[in-house]
């Protein structure tokens, strides 16, 4: 069934809903990345300490994987972009975060045994655990911009709104996690909660996403 063929106002409503969902996904993705970055310092501290170079390793890996993700997201958006596909990206990032919860500790212990310099230990550990989910999260923003842009003259405005939402999400993820969530929950509970939220949003996008961005 193709909604939007018959009733114009219904089609408009669906379009509005999809647009809101694109923003929600972008905002949530910003939240997700920063919350995980904060928690990663906690996860690494037992093996590598919380010295300045441990944070240096963590931030380097997150910046690097985001940069790769932006590049990849841009490329992906060229070919048949759709909200449905954005949903799959979201699901991918969520699933790739699962190893942090279930295999994080043995992996960190293994790296601790193999690499004695805590600088490279923490760099390797954050790469192994966080590179893939963060890179996939990074694809969300450029891909979402493509879904929002309808006219060339408004492309800057779309990009601006999207940066706003995604970076605002990052700010919320940072403050909520560091001020409150660590006080209420265990780290793995927070991670699993976020993964569940990502899966829900991803599925929602897949369900209502349609096949192609409307021209």
């Amino acid at each position: 069934m193709n909604p939007g063929v018959g009733d114009v106002s219904e089609r408009l409503r669906l379009e509005q809903f999809r647009k809101a969902l694109v923003f929600l996904l972008a905002g949530w993705s910003g939240y997700f990345v920063m919350a995980i970055e904060l928690l990663s310092g906690r996860l690494l501290a037992p093996n590598f300490g919380n010295s300045i170079y441990v944070w240096g390793g963590v931030i380097t890996v997150f910046m690097l994987s985001l940069s790769m993700g932006y590049l990849l997201g841009g490329h992906l958006s060229v070919h048949a972009p759709s909200l449905r596909r954005l949903g799959y990206l979201m699901l991918g990032a969520a699933v790739l975060t699962l190893p942090v919860v279930f295999w994080g500790e043995p992996l960190l212990d293994w790296i601790f045994d193999s690499v004695h310099d805590p600088r490279y230990g923490s760099l390797l550990a954050s790469s192994a655990l966080f590179f893939l989910p963060t890179a996939i999260s990074g694809t969300v923003s450029p891909y979402a911009i493509r879904l929002l842009v309808k006219h060339l003259h408004a492309s800057g405005k779309s990009a601006g709104s999207l940066y706003f939402v995604s970076t605002f999400g990052s700010a919320v993820g940072t403050i909520l996690t560091s001020f409150y969530l660590v006080l209420w929950f265990e780290i793995n509970q927070i991670l699993l909660g976020m993964i569940a939220a990502s899966v829900t949003l991803g599925l929602a996008a897949i369900l209502v996403g349609g096949n192609h961005a409307e021209e």
Binding site: R42, P46, F48, G49, N50, F179, L183, I187
Partner: protein, 296 residues
């Protein structure tokens, strides 16, 4: 108007900050990777501090008699010797001015002392200003305490005495307050090995710490005086008569450091009284600085 008020407040704060150090001579100031470190001397008392307030003093020595301990907590940490009066292998996490290792070196010239200190500038300051002079049996490792302990467990090191005295500008770093960390420390303790831990939480963190130590070690002694020092021994707590006997034996040797059984023995109490549902601090849950900033 509002702006002016702020300027007045700022000026007053600055003046008060200066007044706190009035008469003091600054001997050293450095921004290390981890903190701002200042050494100052006032009326024969030389101190190292990390933060802005005089209350942030980490270590002090009397220049005229640098064996004599200035702070209660260092004296209380020495009470660890009442649980084991002849330690051969000692580990200290957190060097500060080196007051504890200097005293232990004088008492036990032949013992091995390993120290984990993350900040190389602190080690330099300890040597330059606080009479800390390591011998060939003193090893200072530039390492995060948790990482050092984890590696020491791997190489199956054992210690007769472990002293936990690591602090950042806020409190004990959060990854060194957890059950997993204490389990690693436990793995380093020899049979009848003694653990002494310096803590000073007065907030709701106090009970969390108690529950966490208890979950790993069972009963432990606390001695409280401003700070709380936690003392325990592997294989069960020694009873007070044994502690008193050791204290009597050490009395003369501890005198130069300005402490002794008169001050310390009466403070020994088996810690108890935290609520049964107190949450244990773990690597998964250790918001200790947030808990510490809450009132009890």
């Amino acid at each position: 108007m509002l702006k002016n008020e702020w300027i007045v407040v700022l000026l007053a704060a600055t003046l008060m900050g200066t007044a706190a150090l009035a008469g003091a001579t600054e001997l050293f100031y450095a921004k290390s990777l981890y903190r701002n470190i200042m050494v100052y001397e006032d009326d024969g008392l030389r101190c190292m501090k990390f933060g802005r307030n005089v209350a942030d003093r980490q270590s002090c020595v009397l220049v005229s008699d640098h064996d004599k301990m200035v702070f209660d907590y260092t004296k209380m940490m020495m009470a660890a010797l009442y649980l084991n009066p002849e330690p051969q292998r000692i580990l200290i996490i957190g060097l500060g001015g080196g007051i504890l290792p200097s005293a232990l070196r004088k008492l036990f010239p032949a013992c091995q002392i390993d120290i984990a200190e993350i900040d190389p500038v602190v080690s330099e300051v300890a040597k330059r200003f606080f009479y800390f002079s390591p011998t060939d049996k003193t090893n200072v490792f530039e390492d995060d305490g948790r990482v050092f302990v984890k590696r020491a467990v791997k190489r199956k090191a054992k210690y007769d005495l472990v002293m936990l005295d690591a602090f950042d500008h806020e409190y004990i770093p959060e990854h060194m307050l957890t059950r997993e960390f204490l389990q690693e420390v436990k793995g380093l303790l020899a049979a009848k090995g003694v653990l002494a831990a310096n803590t000073f939480s007065k907030s709701s963190l106090y009970n969390h710490e108690s529950a966490t130590y208890y979950s790993v070690f069972g009963d432990f002694y606390r001695i409280n005086k401003h700070n709380r020092v936690i003392l325990l021994r592997m294989g069960g707590l020694p009873a007070m008569p044994e502690i008193a006997k050791n204290a009597a034996r050490l009395e003369d040797r501890l005198r130069p450091f300005g402490t002794g059984k008169g001050e310390l023995l009466s403070l020994f109490t088996v810690e108890s009284g935290w609520p049964a549902d107190t949450k244990i601090l773990t690597d998964q849950y250790s918001p200790s600085n947030l808990l510490n900033s809450r009132r009890q």
